[in-house]
Symmetry: D3
Subunit: 278 residues, 6 copies
């Protein structure tokens, strides 16, 4: 008997035996354009069964790694504070057990409560931010916490100089000016390696960094992005960093009529897992 | 030169000359199943141009009526209190000018702040509730205010005995027990007329009262509902009531691939306008 | 070897052996709302292979009838006069051979050139018009010949008193007033039979007579229409009339995502064939 | 933590405590028109979470019943014999434990191996067959076992006189002649009750018995079928029969763009469960 | 109150204050393959609100520029001469006021009446033609004026030697031979600059120059085209030319299920505006 | 009169006059993920009419070549042995007449019976295998013959050293180890030319070699593949080889909502024909 699978492909290890744990955060409450990233965690898991567990690029097999999947954080829609609290609790519990985490979003705002916890747990936390949008507004329609402000919120926690951006191609003039202050946009691997060293690193991957040709199924598609190969090579280059957590956000499955965007997201997750444990 | 139209078809009268004003409330923050009713107000307006302004059933023409359309209330996503406040302000302003209102939702929760205002403005307010779902839960995933509790919230304001339900076919045993106390489900026109008399009436139309065959484009489709003709006849039977306000909620345009659900919604709005001013 | 089929299911008789010939008129040049009925003739043929040739209602099998399918009239898009000329030539050729015809539209305007020819070929031609829309405007956006005026154009040829309407539920007040003059809307079978007698009859079926629940794939969907069974019973009631021609128009396959509208159209065609030769 | 659910809503009892067990048979190998019913079992389970467990019609709650869900039978595609064998094994195991079964298809052919087993387990087995198509061909494209022959195959096992058909509206003249011999098409409840008495009954529900307006997402849509209410009333009328097994087949989720067909299928399953245990 | 926007994002200046005016020409009457570019002008405006007004590539903000949007030219469908006349009137009016124009098509044929006017208004007009298809046929299905002949029509007005083609990858042997005569296909920027000098330039962008991966939503998709970045770089290279007018044609929104094609089109428009006024 | 076309565009030569014959093999019986490649042969033919017969890259026109199209092999679904037998008969008949063949799949398994025949007809047959997946499993869910094993099956016929793979990016570790033995993955043209020499060559093109951005409409999309241009250049490089047969497999039209995947498939077929006869 085969039943519907609860976990990302190959990530079926018990919590106690796992080095890394996947959890979903199906929140899309501040999405201003096209909602529905709430459906992404389960859809990514489902789509993962169209892939192999083996990656020829990494020469690694997910089944050989110690990864579990604890399902989704559950919360009521429409109440941002409770959502933050639940995500923080989940992250804190895993962090206390010394587990690495990979969170399946949800919208980009879910990165904030995770970083709040990890910033307390690790010294000198660095963030690698892959995205089409700067997300560096001070406020958005009068709100301080939003998918459009999340990187600004995080920069107040860990310092903007500790954030390295890749793929940003959309924002206001003010956002681009803010980013320009630190020269941390699309820097080369050698420079990145030097800056990061052995410090703990968190990867946040807003899937709209990809071009709309390869990932139309997202809340705010922005033409002119990375090809799948370009993102894969970028992720591959992060092997060897001390990556303590990651998230993959902003898949909107209801706009993914062919199912291809979900498969792309699942392969990004698979490659991120290999990078984290490779 | 023809430009994109701002208003529901034929509803282009200035505010001061209007007896009735349309406004949109594009909020879907507590939707638990399929979001996107935020897109409904603009989509309903757009789809209305596929209809005639003349209704042969009512022998009335929208263009002959004094109706304006003031656009949508604007609010940040993810902050329920501010949404309530903005909808209340808008309703209060129109109410002070003695205008009737028709609100294009949005999810069903938007009815609550409207009733809060109208309940203060009118004595003995009655509610006619058309819906597939009871929406009579006390709380939903721990929250008191939600699309699944909204009728319960309203019953605390105006008294459950003043609510008349049509079309309810889904709920928990507790919700059906609650409703059964007052014998107000699917009552005949003669009984309804007697109970309502000349009291002010508010109509709330959750479009999922319709069968999923005619309206698949909604957040929580429930098979076994009204045909379009059945709903039209019900609405037609309300002519002559003292209707002071109405709303049409829960169209989810992103699941309406053929565009037919949006046209259905627009025709329900047209018929509701005729009922209110006929 | 099986190849793509050229003909409506079971309608593979040579022209000389056929009592009735099918042809397509893939014109949608005046469609004002949603174009694409140009794709209908081929799509209806394709969808017909999902049906049986046998109809239990009629106890007739299409394969037992003498019907051929001569394909589509070909014309350049954007030149209405040439389209009319080509459709007239085709109809005239078949009429001279004493063949009955069934035309697969295309938009409703294609009925006009057919009637022009048949009105010359037959005395006392009667028209049975099944439609959601009156199509009785004098002009439409300044044009005399349009899908929205076609019944008015035809009434000038054969006299409005010879047109019997079924299903009309949308139009301007003027159009409904025009129709009301002759009391020919939705009349009972006995009255229709008396009026028609043995006169030659033409059936024009705008598929939007059907409710949008059963036929969303059309240019101008209008909620509140016939169920499939209601239309089937109406068509069945026309057996025994002297039907010399028919058309089935306004399927818009690109809005028929599930394919169901095309199958509905094909079954309407099958039933129309049985009615014509039954 | 909430995880992807493995079971139909509310059907989470352990096998040993269950009176009835659900299993899926995701086979669509002989589908000749539109494949993909293989995806139905999991999709029906997923869609069931958009429904309540409580049915107001039955005044029963699925959660109060003793029902489990053992997932899907797994088999290689393209090898009919092995598929039959696996379904027979599964059915036999459950039958030996005296469990009632409800199978989620898959195409209609999956009913045959189930009946093979149950016909051995029960005397005087009766079949109630709900379907748009007769499925009574002797062979189909040269094959004896196919979705188009399955009722003929079953009639050889249990006798055609023990099969009661509802909703058949498509078939060849030969198939309708076969059925006509036994006068078992759409018979009234009183006659059905008399014929069945206390004998064990199996219900097979091909979802295309429903009209294409309410269920476009199926392999071979056939216009002119039952409304959801008509099917619900038919199912409701079977309460009190000694129903030992049932199946719900031929949902094709990939043609169900709005998701409504899957919800319809799930509600049919919920109502069937209530009928079986009511 | 926010209402449905009438204008392309940020292009809200009054006519008298504008250097450049946007207008729509929603004509698709000669489309031979997939119609629906009539819906493009309004869809491009709507999709533009998913973009920022600021372009980091140009370091320009649309809101800082003097651009207005006067809506769509209105005309009856199916009458090519009237369409031409209306587009010419609109272009002539704007030209007399010394405004630059950007027209949102519609099909490619709408370029012809615009060029007819501008060729009278400017000496030595040059055309830069971006397209997948040569559009250089003499006639198409017997018609001289068609989307498939429009460049040939224009070459008779301004001389083929003044047309510079980019991206052409589909045509007949005859069309490619015609183009080959002037060596004006995909020429380098330096050569183009030399040929154009200070002469007035018109840009016509058939969006199908883009690869079908990035722009599936068009009438005649042709695989093997430009990536979004390649087209963006080409457009960027035209800064400094004396560009007096432009058009962006052939988006077919009804085939753009994910909405991504419309966003691509809107970003092409934004970049074209920056090129014209940069 | 124009009728639905039976043949790939321009491939209308009689069998006796043809050097190359196209046939379809609409089999998808072992598809494990998303079925529906059965619809591909007819859809590719239909989509081909959106292309020109002339290829500027090859400077060849399909209409000038001697190519016929004999339609599809017909077989019952669900019986793999009969499918193999019918494909073998068809291939053998054409081979005896010394015709080259191009087969439109269908799933990848259809290559096996073709190679069985051609391996008997030609000495030293070489295979060029373009694919995302290795298809080199020994068995798949217990079956020896499957879309996932087909290259392994073929390697047992012609020797793995005679198979040259391009584009493989997904498989198990075992499959990649198998392939690695012969160093035949993505080898350069010069090396390929040397190995092949004048030997007879068969091309098998699994369309999922293409990136999911350009071909989402396939059974098992795998991100990170070839662009259309890269595949076109690879195919172009095979001119001059002694190509005796080819197939193009695994288009799944039901997941190709925009129609672009089918057009891509048709252009791959057109280019393959030019390569074979160039």
């Amino acid at each position: 008997m085969k039943t519907i699978s609860n976990c990302f492909i190959g990530c079926d290890k018990p919590v106690e035996n796992s080095d890394l744990l996947i959890f979903g955060a199906p929140y899309d409450g501040t999405s201003s354009f096209r909602p529905g990233s709430r459906f992404a965690p389960d859809k990514i898991r489902e789509a993962s069964y169209g892939l192999e567990t083996y990656s020829p690029d990494y020469n690694m097999d997910i089944e050989d790694l110690s990864i579990g999947d604890i399902g989704n954080v559950e919360f009521p829609f429409g109440v941002k504070d409770k959502v933050f609290e639940k995500i923080k609790n989940c992250t804190a519990n895993l962090s206390k057990m010394n587990k690495k985490t990979l969170c399946l979003g949800g919208e980009h705002l879910i990165t904030f409560p995770i970083i709040e916890v990890l910033n307390g747990a690790y010294d000198n936390l660095k963030l690698i931010h892959m995205d089409a949008h700067a997300d560096m507004r001070d406020t958005y329609i009068g709100e301080k916490f939003s998918h459009a402000t999340v990187l600004n919120n995080i920069s107040e926690l860990i310092g903007q100089e500790n954030i390295y951006h890749y793929g940003i191609r959309s924002g206001t003039r003010e956002e681009f000016n803010k980013i320009a202050k630190y020269n941390n946009l699309n820097i080369k691997h050698s420079e990145l390696s030097e800056k990061i060293g052995d410090d703990p690193v968190y990867l946040t991957i807003d899937l709209d960094i990809l071009d709309t040709s390869i990932l139309p199924g997202t809340g705010t598609p922005e033409p002119g992005g990375f090809s799948f190969k370009e993102l894969s090579e970028l992720l591959f280059s992060f092997r060897g960093f001390n990556i303590v957590g990651a998230d993959v956000v902003e898949l909107a499955p209801d706009y993914d009529f062919t199912g291809a965007s979900s498969i792309v997201a699942a392969k990004v997750v698979r490659n991120t897992l290999c990078t984290m444990l490779g």
